[in-house]
Assembly symmetry: C2
Homo-oligomer: 382 residues x 2
């Protein structure tokens, strides 16, 4: 199991410094959590991830169920032993795939509707609506594998059983991550389902892993507060904040302001799938302890580096003649050895080594940024 200790609080915001202790070691919070969807941080080795300061990774239950399968991982002694990663791990519940393979895919929307400009759409997902490739029932969700079309059922029991076999330190209750185009009537129905699944997961949970419940409710104040009170009132070890967070970053901040104060103070809070480096400060100020996001690793593979000077797109021609290190303020292996001009050359040629070099840097950058926020809280300056 885990334990969580708050060691300092900001007097000017809801930010807090903490230590989340797990069977695989302590996590200093607030912490950024890189995504290791298929048990790998894309483009690099787990040793490089550890050297970049990653404390905790989140793996994806649904993807690992498809390949290599939770039984094979269990036979290897669980994810830690399978991966050769001795630090803490989380697995998500598969609830995000209800969205990403369902309405999210049908409507080509992300969790923040505003991130796809020109794609503003009316809320058309009403009670009774079903996505094209996913069937949502009160018992759970039928998925079609995007790889081979095979059918897979995940409900609270199935998700929990898979996560138990995967063996992460922290697991999540099965939920429906809703799309930004749902009507309030659909959301009420969905929330009732997610809450029933949360209770079912608690009944089934055997206590070896830390089980987090997930707050849903989209960008509606009443629904979010209702969900935070309901989920926050259950004996979960920690809480995830998931789902659609509105049109833009302001909406996302608003959702956190509604939700976080209603969650039990002494237990950890994880924001699911959000965390551009520009967001870290605002998320942490609103009392989030851990947050995962694919952006730092995904952008790295597209030639974008996060630096003290802001985002740099290495595809820009000007970098071909720039002898500076990628980020002169950074001490990661990439910044110690490679110049912008060399990395720009590799990025233009789509050399996969460039993806690795930028991934190493972006993770180092994000972990340093989280560390600097921890230092600020400790000093009382956040």
């Amino acid at each position: 199991m885990i334990s969580f200790r708050v060691t300092a609080r900001s007097s000017r915001s809801a930010a807090r410094l903490g230590v989340l202790s797990t069977p695989h070691g302590d996590i200093e919070t607030p912490a950024f959590v890189p995504v290791a969807t298929r048990a790998a941080v894309k483009a690099i080795s787990l040793q490089q991830a550890a050297e970049a300061g990653c404390q905790l990774l989140i793996c994806n239950t649904f993807h690992l169920h498809l390949t290599p399968g939770e039984d094979l991982v269990a036979a290897a002694g669980g994810l830690h032993s399978f991966m050769g990663w001795q630090r803490p791990l989380m697995t998500d519940s598969g609830g995000y795939q209800v969205f990403s393979l369902g309405f999210g895919r049908d409507h080509d929307v992300g969790k923040l509707r505003g991130v796809f400009p020109g794609k503003e759409q009316q809320a058309t997902i009403k009670p009774g609506s079903q996505p094209n490739h996913v069937k949502i029932t009160d018992d759970g969700v039928w998925f079609r594998s995007p790889r081979d079309g095979s059918k897979h059922f995940l409900g609270p029991a199935e998700s929990l059983a898979m996560q138990r076999k995967l063996g992460a330190d922290i697991v999540f209750a099965f939920d429906e991550c809703t799309a930004p185009l749902t009507t309030p009537a659909y959301l009420e129905l969905s929330l009732r389902r997610t809450h029933a699944w949360a209770e079912r997961c608690l009944e089934l949970h055997d206590g070896e892993q830390a089980l987090y419940g997930i707050v849903q409710g989209s960008h509606y104040r009443e629904l979010r507060q209702h969900s935070a009170r309901f989920i926050g009132g259950l004996p979960f070890a920690g809480f995830g904040i998931g789902g659609d967070l509105g049109q833009d970053k302001q909406d996302m901040h608003q959702v956190l302001e509604w939700t976080v104060p209603l969650l039990p103070e002494e237990r950890p809070r994880h924001l699911l799938g959000i965390g551009h480096p520009e967001d870290f400060d605002e998320i942490v100020r609103r009392g989030v302890d851990t947050f995962d996001c694919i952006v730092p690793t995904l952008h790295a593979r597209h030639g974008i580096a996060f630096t003290a000077e802001g985002r740099l797109n290495l595809r820009n021609r000007r970098f071909l003649t720039d002898p500076a290190p990628l980020d002169p303020a950074c001490s990661c292996p990439t910044c110690r050895y490679a110049s912008r001009r060399y990395l720009a050359h590799l990025v233009r040629l789509e050399e996969i080594g460039a993806m690795a070099a930028l991934t190493v840097h972006n993770l180092h950058y994000c972990n340093r940024l989280a560390a600097s926020l921890r230092e600020a809280i400790a000093k009382g300056s956040l």
Copy 2:
């Protein structure tokens, strides 16, 4: 410039131990030379290549001429500074592309004809034959860029000028690497051209870099010996052995036995583009000092590892349940941390991190293998 010192000789073969000193440090020979075509060892960083024991890399002049261009590299202070690689470097002359973009591409053949089973073909390249996308003249060769169709001319002067701007420690004279389907009449003509270009390169060479001449002559004894005597009689700093080496490995060994004894004893010999790990021992026994090959890095990207147990294809299902390290006899970062089952999982998903992990291992393996051959020569046991 370079200097070469033979420090021990095998009493039972032509193998020799040596030190090749360059402005960027010493190379212990015999040495395997990984290929960094576009100034990168594919899939990994140059620091990982150095940690894997790589002493010397070979970059490709024609590819770097296309992107980013030798002028941009020269403006960065040359390849060492551009890449951030402080160990020795070679550049090839572009002569290999006369083959690979010319007759090699047209006839779908490699340097060893036998490597494409079922593709045995008659020698049909006669005097006057021209490849589809390359035009070979006595002055040099017109290429079409495989990227954008643009035209590029390389002759001895152009190749040397590009290589001077790239600034490697060791450069090669421009040559025609011939295809395995050429008639002896074509080869005689081609050899006359290659020899004239070699002389022209020596005239133009200004002496800062070490210039190697290249022996051609296909798999014909008379032509190879004529070329070895001619090129070996010129004041090159070292010698490359290039071109078509016959039907199979036996032919390749035969070519080395004809050629090497005719080259000056005190100068280094480089075998161009050959070096499966299984070949190292036989190549070294025939008096080769350095040899480059893409196989260890190329195979890594296709899931194939070279180990003390032989080649392992990680796509094989049995590895999904194998908890052993990739190569229990190896101490590289991949073998220290990753199991076969984890790597097999990543390879099946085509995770690019798996390509990096296997590249690190294969380079480590090849460099260790070369080191063990050096130890054997020193002990007199080769």
